[in-house]
Amino acid sequence: MRLHLYAVLVALSTAVLIFAGGLVTSTGSGLSVPDWPTTYGWFMFTFPLDKMVGGIRFEHAHRLIASTVGFLILILAVWLRLAEPRQWVRRLGYIALGAVVTQGILGGITVLWFLPDPISIAHASLAQLVFCLTIAIALTTSPGWKRAYAGRGPVPDDRILQQIATATTVLVYVQILVGATMRHTDAGLAIPDFPLAFGHLIPPSWDPKIAVHFAHRVGALVVAIFAIATTGHVFYHHRSRPELWRPSALLLVLITLQITLGALTVLSHKHYIINSLHVVTGASVLATSLVLTLRTRRGSFDRLTGSREQDESYGMHRDVRPVRGHA
């Protein structure tokens, strides 16, 4: 249980990190600290607080939070190695560690190379994957997951739900990629009005920035339709399963909030707080959709892990492979 609570803490801290990263780009502070991994020549953790002024406040704070999250994920990976009997969950920890290290390096490279769009977009996109990994670890170490949500009988093996929930998660991630591209190519106000585009349903003229901006708006619509379909299916067929309807309901709430924030981002001419909230809410939509998707496929994980035995301490199945302290 402590491991699960720690994993939740790591996931929350990753969300904070994404918000801090959103503040960096929203305030145009990405290059306010020109060097990396040092800060104006100081070792990162000894940089004087009174020198955190202007854009440095956002960029340096982002680096400090990122380092903290990296350290938390390192501890999580070690903890999983020592205490987690399921090999695939331990592997999630290693992957999360590798991803967050890669993410840090990408962040450094993007500063040293003056924010090239592909690197900056990759940095933003990998951040979402790191968040998804921490969410997946938090979920799979939870008591509910370990009990296979068996309180009301086994999780239904609903193929349709699995497919639309998976499609929703993939679409949300693609939508975030388009959003990151829009953000890092400075196309956030390429269409300056909302809900129309230059007063029309379809933009009357096109250029690459307008195209990526419009794609993000259409993507929001597509994601919303899939989210409604997923939620509708859950509420119609699985109303008695709180592990399914809770994330479904949350998904709808978050998507409504996210579209509102997207509109406000345009109407407020990219106010940096609204813009950053839009980024972190997008990550929350992805995380919620991922949780729902994984829960719909809970049964598949038992089949995937091959031979296993009953673990009395969990009241669940686990790998046979002996682990330190569990053999």
Binding site: S29, W36, P37, G41, K51, R90
Partner: protein, 251 residues
């Protein structure tokens, strides 16, 4: 499993090594070869003129500088996009765009100074010859980063954490204009026109400008303003002749 951890650590170290050298920018260009001044002072002419502005420019806005207490303490600062005096527009970069042919000009060894003072750039608009040193100085008791965003020269971004720090940079290629910005203080902007010759100036009080020692010839003269873009005019200057030229920007 140790293999995974070792791979991660190795990746981190390799990345650090690969990226660590990126900040040691070599700003100095090779020294320019000595070139004789092709301008004959007995025949050289001059160009004088003024920059007019039609229309009412937007009122200067007070800049919110609360993000840095030092900058806030320097007093109120206003936007400087349009500085108009006696009907003339200041801070317009005027230069010979074309007409000098293959003439080569000596490159001054004296540095042009771009100062960061009172959380503003001084000067805001200026010119320099390619190969001439540009000395960037921090006169403030706060941090600045000096970030140049050229199209044809090499981009650079240097931090100056302490008062009195200097950084010398040499642009190698002519380019009009190269923007500078401070990412710490997002209101700080400056522009430099980099040219292969010395025939450039910036309009001053009353929008007036003056380019001297021009060899006789027919020239394309361009005027650049940070918000209003460029205007170009042709002018022919005879031996010892001083021509008047006027540009009018419209809002």
């Amino acid at each position: 499993m140790n293999t995974y951890l070792r791979l991660c650590v190795a990746f981190l170290l390799l990345g650090s090594i690969a990226c660590g050298g990126g900040n040691t920018e070599k700003s100095a260009a090779p020294p320019a070869t000595a070139v004789a001044d092709p301008v004959n002072p007995d025949t050289a002419g001059a160009l004088k003129g003024s920059i007019k502005l039609e229309g009412t420019p937007p009122a200067a806005q007070t800049i919110n500088r609360r993000s840095d207490p030092y900058c806030e303490q320097q007093g109120e600062a206003k936007t400087q996009n349009f500085i108009v005096s006696n009907g003339g527009l200041e801070n317009v970069f005027v230069y010979v765009k074309d007409g000098l042919g293959d003439m080569k000009f000596p490159v001054p060894t004296t540095a042009v100074v771009l100062d960061q003072k009172g959380c503003s750039y001084a000067p805001r608009v200026f010119g320099i010859q390619a190969g001439q040193p540009l000395e960037i100085l921090n006169s403030d008791e706060t941090l600045h980063n000096i970030h140049a965003l050229p199209m044809n020269n090499r981009e650079f971004n240097r931090g100056q954490a302490l008062k009195g720090l200097k950084h010398t940079h040499v642009f190698t290629t002519a380019e009009v204009m190269v923007p500078f910005k401070c990412d710490v203080h997002n209101w700080m902007n400056a522009w430099v026109g980099v040219l292969n010759h010395p025939f450039y100036t910036v309009s001053g009080s009353g929008g007036t400008f003056d380019i001297e020692r021009l060899p006789p010839g027919t020239y394309s003269i361009e005027a650049w303003h940070e918000k209003l873009g460029t205007q170009t005019q042709m002018v022919t200057i005879g031996p010892k002749e001083t021509k008047e030229l006027s540009f009018t920007f419209k809002l």
